[in-house]
């Protein structure tokens, strides 16, 4: 679905150019989710912005369904680390925003958004504002907003980092289910090794000065559930990632 070829990113600091990453090659397809993991500042979020089309690569190219990615595409949905909800919009208005921006009528928007809010069990919070929601509820609204656009690629930027352990696991299961049911391709940036292994079938381990692309598909997406966290294979993959992160 998405193919990354010779991608590079850098930034300027005191007049000199600092390379964040370079020579990056990988591809992501539906049913084979990719977890991106690495220390702070290694360019994980930058990579996600490039994949979403919000930023243009200075070198290399990103192909989405065989076409060069030039700006934002409706089929690519991004959920940001701090949810990106607008405080002055209610849950329903936030979840509907993408559709409203694209000129959908109120009726069409309602028809699309309400079932998603129901699926994410936040349909009882329609008129609440984000400051009246818990972290987990905010995250569900952000996911609902992304899903309302019927994407084929879902990009998540450390989506569960500020949630408690219970909510985190619950939402991880939810994301897996959503990706399975909708056949979504998933790229997921995280700091958590366990999360990377649970959600990903492939892992892109980004370290300063290089990257490793690993296969971590011990249990296929279809069979993956909470029990997988207790599986020996799960722990083996966690240790494998740990080893690569230390290098």
């Amino acid at each position: 679905m998405i193919e990354v070829q010779d991608l590079a990113a850098s930034y300027s600091e005191k007049g000199s150019k600092k390379i964040v990453f370079e020579n990056l090659f990988f591809e992501v397809s539906s049913g084979v989710p990719l977890s991106v993991i690495g220390p702070s500042g290694c360019g994980k979020t930058t990579l996600l912005y490039l994949l979403s089309g919000l930023k243009k690569p200075e070198k290399g190219e990103i192909l989405f369904r065989g076409e060069r990615l030039n700006g934002h595409r409706r089929e690519i949905a991004l959920v940001l680390q701090h949810y990106g909800l607008l405080p002055w919009k209610t849950v329903f208005q936030n979840a509907s925003l993408g559709l409203r921006i694209r000129g959908f009528s109120k009726k069409e928007t309602k028809k699309t958004v309400l079932p998603i809010l129901r699926e994410l069990t936040i349909d009882h919070l329609l008129d609440r504002f984000p400051n009246q929601l818990s972290g987990g509820e905010k995250q569900r609204v952000a996911i609902a907003r992304a899903l309302a656009l019927k994407p084929s690629l879902l990009l998540l930027d450390e989506p569960f980092s500020s949630l408690d352990a219970f909510t985190r696991e619950h939402l991880q299961n939810l994301i897996l289910n959503i990706c399975r049911q909708r056949e979504l391709a998933l790229v997921h940036v995280t700091h958590s090794i366990e999360e990377a292994v649970f959600l990903g079938e492939k892992a892109l381990v980004m370290n300063e000065g290089g990257y490793d692309l690993l296969s971590i598909n011990g249990v296929g997406m279809a069979e993956r559930d909470s029990e997988y966290r207790k599986n020996d294979l799960f722990h083996q993959y966690c240790n494998l990632l740990r080893g690569y992160l230390k290098r």
């Binding site: 694209r102 504002f129 400051n131």
Partner: protein, 245 residues
């Protein structure tokens, strides 16, 4: 319009006034009830008309300031390079008391309403401009990215993110500007005019008619309360999320 807390505040102000009037026992500081008893006489002398004229001047100058300073502030806040060029000019002009330009303003706009409205406008313009620019500058980039990632165009980013983010701060600057504009109003109505609350107060003062003077002062207070209440209503309606818990 008036809630319990507003009535309580009024009661406290009048309570303090009563205590001071009792302590000083001077005609310059009469009891509130004596001032109230003078109200019908002051109305006959055109207090209502003076109130209307002052309200018109304030509303017009605040409207001009909002219409010009808010878009400019929002724009400067989002355009770093232009802001870097314009900000030194703002910082140079902002601290200068605009009253010093009075002779020039009178020369340009004459002795009528326009010069009075203009001087209030130019003073509050900078207050609103600087606050709006800073609010626009401080917008969380993640919010902009989140709307961009939904396919928003510049106009939609402005409507859905930039303006709503800045609105509470614009309203705060408006509140500050109301206080400033009423203070300046008193000054601008002290020359070349025979109407407005400032004129009414000074006229009563010069004839030692302290009771009428206080009715004029109360008029200014009421003008402030009406304007502040208006801003509060706008805030409760358009920034509803701030009051949700």
């Amino acid at each position: 319009m008036f809630k319990g807390r507003t009535l309580m505040a009024v009661a406290v102000v009048f309570g303090i006034w009563y205590v001071l009037a009792f302590l000083f026992k001077t005609p310059i500081l009469p009891y509130p009830h004596t001032v109230f008893s003078t109200l019908p006489l002051s109305m006959e002398r055109g207090l209502g008309n003076h109130f209307g004229v002052s309200g018109y001047r304030i509303l017009l100058s605040l409207s001009w300031a909002l219409i010009t300073a808010v878009p400019l502030g929002l724009y400067l806040g989002r355009r770093k390079r232009i802001d870097e060029l314009v900000s030194p000019m703002i910082y140079l002009i902002y601290p200068i008391p605009k009253i010093v330009f009075l002779p020039l303003i009178l020369l340009l706009f004459g002795l009528g309403d326009l010069s009075k409205i203009f001087i209030i406008f130019i003073i509050v313009f900078f207050q609103i401009l600087v606050t709006t620019r800073d609010a626009s500058k401080g917008i969380d980039e993640e919010q902009i990215l989140s709307v961009l990632s939904l396919g928003a165009r510049p106009k939609q980013i402005f409507l859905h993110t930039i303006f709503p983010t800045c609105l509470p701060k614009i309203l705060t600057s408006l509140r500050v500007s109301i206080g400033t504009s009423i203070a300046v109003l008193f000054f601008v109505e002290s020359f070349a005019t025979e109407n407005g609350l400032g004129f009414f107060i000074l006229d009563a003062w010069s004839t030692l008619d302290y009771l009428s003077m206080y009715t004029g002062i109360m008029g200014m207070g009421i003008l402030g309360v009406v304007l502040y209440e208006g801003v509060d209503r706008i805030e409760r309606r358009y920034c509803r999320w701030m009051f949700s818990t």
